[in-house]
Symmetry: C2
DNA sequence: CCCCGAAGTGTAAACGCTTCCAGTCCTAAG
DNA sequence: CTTAGGACTGGAAGCGTTTACACTTCGGGG
């Protein structure tokens, strides 16, 4: 394998100068830089990142920990982060800890501690004291997406606020009988996002003087399938049917739409449905939603991290609120008079 | 940071012995092994993988290149591979080359050549001669999933065969007016899977003496959204409507179902629909499909690769056919008499 | 009782870079 | 005409492991 030595030889320079020329750090004359570059190109030389990392302490690699790769939000975050990292010449190491609790353990006990990553992005993960401690111990910047992460920086959306906004959208259309599909607390490793969104819903309802009926508050696991089942129950068993459903995620809203169709309910005539996310499928289904730009959140996390890396790996804990946008489509409308 | 030296000191052993003890290679007395282990544990010592990689040439890291993270098949492969790798103590570096052609370039020109990975999994990627050359040049085993990869091992399903099987399922129910939603050739980087499935469809139709009508052959980009649009066209514009649709993927079948509902078509009464994949959503929608166990394919690729890594990084090119299974649900049925 | 091989251990040389340090050259200020 | 200081360069010391090699010890066959 051709190493930096070969390049140096071919370029008639010292190894040190070639290293400086190629990395762009330090002073190198334009001539030398050019010579080093062409020599490297001619030899097809590519830096060995292990050697480089060992010597410099920088890995050019970021770890991304997600609870699942199937749910839309996580895919979108991965997509956004991946593109931003690629652009910056960084690798992305993916840790999907969905499968087994043991996987989560080994990720935090071994994988992340091996100094293979310069920084860590944790998505929708409620980390334990111990886990945070360990991450901080390796002295790597961490940013959390989608939830609080004590001692770390976070990119988040105003969960309570958008739930409020979403509910108000329905209330504003004239709905008063609104059901809410919330997430399962346990699903996301005790992550309390579902609760936050639910409280926004409740606040909006209370402010509007509308009762929150317990039988119209069901939970699902954030998937289409889960919400489909939950919505069927909701639509079938309630003595009275809501005129609108606000789901805590687009996927759950989609599940609701599918369930509604099973009951022969027309959307939005018989039932208004809205979600939160900005799921691609929303366009097709005409789903009213609050777009949270998940891809952008992934990219933002990367930017934050890269900044910290260039700043000596220190990252001031900060809370950044990512903008969201109400997207009104055809799944919500004024309730039809006479609808039970 | 505590290094192997500290462990050696604490255990009263030499660095070499500690290394051997911890890695499990070479002869170490049980006593020494135990002492090394406890010392390491007490110090919270974790190997520096960069140093380790540099010295040994093994990175304990596998690169996974995918054309997208959103489509179900890729997510599932990632999930399967990720779990298998985690289990084996390997990291997974994800390269999503969807965003931009330049990303693809840099992945193949830089990222994969930096000796950061022991092996590469390429999913549904038609690699160019040049790209394959480069990969082989770094002397890393490669396995392709979902398509041919000259000179590399592949895990694949019998695309033509399952398309045949799927079509025969519909024919067996009595359908003769069958439409096919195929993939766009260009979408998957010139990957010719769509064509293979289409030819299976055509063969089955021809064998059964049923005409393949060009107007009932539409293409989409393998997404729900894309197929939804395509299916709307298919169902709207045809002078005569097919009684069954065979989509080249579950996502496209789902798009078809959504479109059919827009037209007030009952499934399967007015239209039978089937796909290929084993998408999670299929259960909810009652979608008849051919399950191709994408997760299993990801895991199988990892097994193959790990075997090669332990075999001195040599991997005999081989073609492994992954088993598939016809799953009959409620989206396909005998055509109603009198259906146009 | 000797010799040989296997088992266990330590020393030290890589692995392929980065970067500190010291040195040379040149420019521009004093 | 000095000389301080900046620009540029090369030598060499790491970075934290693995592993080839050499060595000791020990048990058993001849």
């Amino acid at each position: 394998m051709t190493g930096i030595k070969d390049v140096a030889e071919r370029a008639g320079l010292s190894v040190a100068t070639v290293s400086r020329a190629l990395s762009g750090k330090g002073n190198v004359s334009p001539t030398s830089r050019e010579r080093a570059r062409t020599a490297a190109a001619e030899l097809g030389f590519v830096l060995s990142y292990h050697a480089s990392s060992l010597a410099s302490g920088r890995t050019h690699n970021v770890g991304l920990v997600v609870p699942s790769v199937h749910r839309w939000f996580f895919s979108a975050v991965i997509e956004g982060a991946s593109a931003a990292l690629l652009e910056a010449g960084y690798d992305l190491t993916l840790y999907n800890i969905a499968e087994h609790p043991a996987h989560r353990q080994s990720v935090f006990n071994d994988f992340l501690l091996r100094k293979r990553v310069d920084a860590v992005i944790a998505v929708s993960l409620e980390l334990s004291e111990d886990e945070i401690q360990k991450l901080h111990a390796v002295h790597r910047p961490i940013v959390g997406i989608g939830g609080p992460l004590p001692g770390a920086s976070t990119i988040r959306i105003d969960d309570s606020g958008i739930a409020l906004k979403a509910t108000n959208h329905l209330l504003g259309l004239g709905h008063t009988k609104i059901a809410h599909i919330t997430g399962l607390e346990a699903y996301d490793q005790d992550f309390h996002l579902p609760g936050t969104r639910r409280s926004g819903f409740e606040k909006a309802m209370n402010d509007a003087g509308c009762p929150v009926r317990p039988e119209w508050m069901v939970s699902a696991d954030f998937t289409i399938e889960g919400a489909y089942a939950a919505a069927r129950q909701l639509l079938a068993s309630a003595p009275e049917r809501p005129t609108a459903v606000f789901a805590a995620s687009d996927e759950m809203a989609i599940g609701t739409i599918l369930a509604a169709r099973d009951f022969g309910l027309r959307i939005p005539d018989d039932l208004s449905v809205m979600g939160i996310d900005g799921h691609d499928l929303g366009k097709v289904l005409g789903l009213t939603t609050i777009d949270q730009d998940a891809k952008g959140q992934g990219a933002a996390a990367v930017r934050t991290l890269l900044g910290a890396i260039n700043n000596g790996l220190v990252l001031e804990p900060a809370d950044t609120e990512h903008p969201t946008k109400l997207v009104v489509r055809t799944s919500t409308a004024v309730p039809k008079p006479g609808t039970s």
